[in-house]
């Protein structure tokens, strides 16, 4: 089932990816060939097979609800594109 350009644009919006006008056709063609590969697996009858989400069947570990990390805010914000007074700056979202 080949994708339409509108579907590619919708996917790009969902994925928060700017895809330029002139790249849409190439992207769509490449996605189509990837889907042709991966839809092969739908021919297999997997009724009754339990999905395997992980190689090791591990239960999530719990820890005590106490602070274990030191405050490294300054170091972590040093790599942010824009920060000020301990805050990450983004374009205004509330009028």
């Amino acid at each position: 089932m080949p994708l339409s350009n509108e579907q590619v644009e919708r996917l790009a919006r969902l994925a928060r990816l700017a895809v330029s006008e002139d790249a849409i056709d190439t992207t769509r063609a490449q996605l189509d060939s990837i889907f042709a590969l991966i839809t092969q697996m739908q021919a297999v009858d997997t009724t009754g097979i339990a999905p395997m989400s992980h190689p090791q069947e591990l239960a999530a570990r719990l820890r005590d609800d106490v602070v274990t990390e030191t405050d490294r805010r300054a170091a972590f914000q040093a790599v942010a594109p824009q920060s000020e007074a301990g805050l990450y700056l983004v374009p205004q979202v509330i009028e």
Partner: protein
């Protein structure tokens, strides 16, 4: 000391030279740094070479050695794949998105190796976010195969494999999500091991597909890999999938003499999957692999055919799972907390789209888009859930096979290193070349690739060994016995500056 140049020596040889004070760690680091300076323009195996830091590490190692406090890797130079976070050093993951990211913390693996006293020479080139099989998707340009510049080194850990092959570093770290250690090891004539999922902490390893990603080791031999891997494993509470097991001393397992020196692999049953030996691999690879298997039999191993009937489903299942998990993992790159932010945008949504559109390369974008699709409402069961069910079938195939054999052997890749650009227009063609490596990641098993010959063009061929869970020592020992009887792993590319 023998006539072996230091850059060509094994880690155990370098250990003895350091301990006997025949060379200092600073001198040893300089040997490799000088070699990098000479050969790097031709190979592009590194994203970052940090001479000053390496020499400081080496000085500290020399002090430890002088105090008699050296461990097996103290003062030994190493290169880290640029997917591992290194505090104070650029950690790019091969991407424009992180081209300015100086990590504020160390990955667990990096901490362990620092504590062991290794000397980090630099960070190696890789496919962007480890998405690729050729190192061509790197924002920092392709790495060249030392055996034939103009050809790919494999990927995604192509820089690490090329660095060890060209002896720019004696050992290097890598990661393997679908073959990213084993396939470049085979393309570059080095040894590489991906351990059982959960043995090496993923903390500080920039995530691609979390249920598949696993750190591992490159070296000039199984013995060198054993030393490095032994220092990388261990429980880490900061990785929820880290396994709480006592670390094993792989190097000691290799050093133990076999019961029968003439037949050191007596009693070992090697399974040969019919599906891996059917049509698909090139004739030259078949010849090299068959000769390696004859050598294993000469060393006392018996071979028998086994079946992995669902292995052919590994490629679609792998790519669905990897792309789905990638689309989720890479949503963290939003241009807010770290990484690239577009210079011009209209609002927050536009800033996300433009920052990600500019920061990610084409292959990463393709995988995010496919991953977004297969996880979207109405498609989850048909793709991600179905892939997870196939994953179970593939793991069950291995479980049955390991009831009949100790190890599984076959080619690492159906092809040898291709020319740069030969596959870049057709992503699916490149995905198909991962046929022998991806089933191992889906099952979470350990796998190793070691050199076993060359094709007619003089490009290396690798043999893949697959073991049951936690059989790293067995894999390394089998490869070690093979390497004691052969010299494929000692062949070196002719490299003129």
């Amino acid at each position: 000391m023998s006539d072996t140049p230091l850059f060509d020596a094994s880690v155990s040889f370098l250990r003895r030279a350091l301990d006997a004070r025949k060379i200092s760690s600073v001198e040893l680091a300089s040997v490799f740094l000088d070699r990098i300076a000479t050969l790097e323009p031709k190979l592009n195996a590194f994203v970052t070479v940090d001479r000053e830091r390496a020499l400081a590490d080496a000085k500290a190692a020399d002090a430890r050695i002088a105090k008699g406090e050296a461990g097996p890797l103290t003062g030994i130079p190493l290169a880290h794949k640029d997917v591992f976070c290194t505090e104070g050093v650029l950690t790019s993951c091969g991407s424009k998105m992180l081209a300015n990211f100086v990590s504020p913390y160390d990955a667990h693996v990096v901490t362990l190796l620092k504590d062991a006293g290794v000397v980090c020479l630099g960070k190696t080139n890789m496919d962007e976010f480890a998405m690729g099989s050729s190192t061509e998707t790197s924002h920092f340009g392709s790495t060249h195969n030392p055996w034939k510049p103009g050809h790919v080194p494999g990927g995604s850990s192509g820089g690490s494999a090329a660095a060890v092959a060209a002896r720019l570093a004696p050992i290097a770290t890598g990661t393997d999500t679908g073959g990213s250690i084993r396939q470049p090891a085979s393309f570059c004539n080095v040894t590489g091991i991906k351990p059982t999922y959960g043995l090496v902490s993923r903390y500080g390893l920039i995530a691609y597909a979390s249920s598949l990603d696993q750190g591992g080791a490159f070296g000039g031999s199984a013995e060198d890999c054993a030393l490095l891997l032994g220092a990388m494993t261990g429980f880490d509470k900061r990785d929820s999938t880290s396994l709480d097991r006592a670390p094993e001393n792989y190097a000691a397992a290799l050093a133990a003499p076999p019961a029968d020196a003439a037949k050191p692999l007596a009693g070992l049953t090697v399974g040969l999957p019919r599906e891996f030996f059917a049509a698909g691999m090139s004739d030259d690879i078949r010849v090299a692999v068959d000769a390696a298997l004859a050598q294993y039999r000469a060393l006392g191993a018996t071979t028998r055919e086994v079946d992995l009937p669902n292995a052919k489903l590994a490629i679609p299942a792998y790519y669905v799972i990897a792309m789905a998990e990638a689309s989720s993992n890479l949503s963290r790159f939003d241009g807010v907390r770290y990484g690239h932010r577009a210079a011009h945008y209209d609002d927050l949504f536009d800033m996300y789209c433009k920052s990600r559109g500019e920061g990610f390369g084409d292959e990463v974008k393709r995988r995010i888009l496919v991953g977004t699709y297969v996880l979207s409402h109405g498609y989850y069961d048909a793709y991600y859930l179905q892939a997870q069910k196939l994953r179970r079938l593939i793991a069950e195939d291995f479980r049955r096979a390991f009831a009949e054999c100790d190890l599984i052997a076959g080619p690492t890749s159906p092809v040898t290193a291709w020319a740069l650009g030969a596959m870049s227009g057709d992503p699916v063609q490149m995905y198909l070349a991962d046929i022998y490596t991806t089933p191992v990641n889906l099952a979470g098993l350990p796998g190793l690739s070691h050199p076993c010959g060359f094709d007619r063009a003089g490009l290396p061929v690798g043999l893949q060994l697959i073991g049951n869970y936690f059989s790293e020592a067995k894999l390394l020992e089998a490869a070690h016995r093979f390497q004691q009887a052969t010299d494929w792993h000692l062949r070196r590319p002719a490299l003129a500056a």
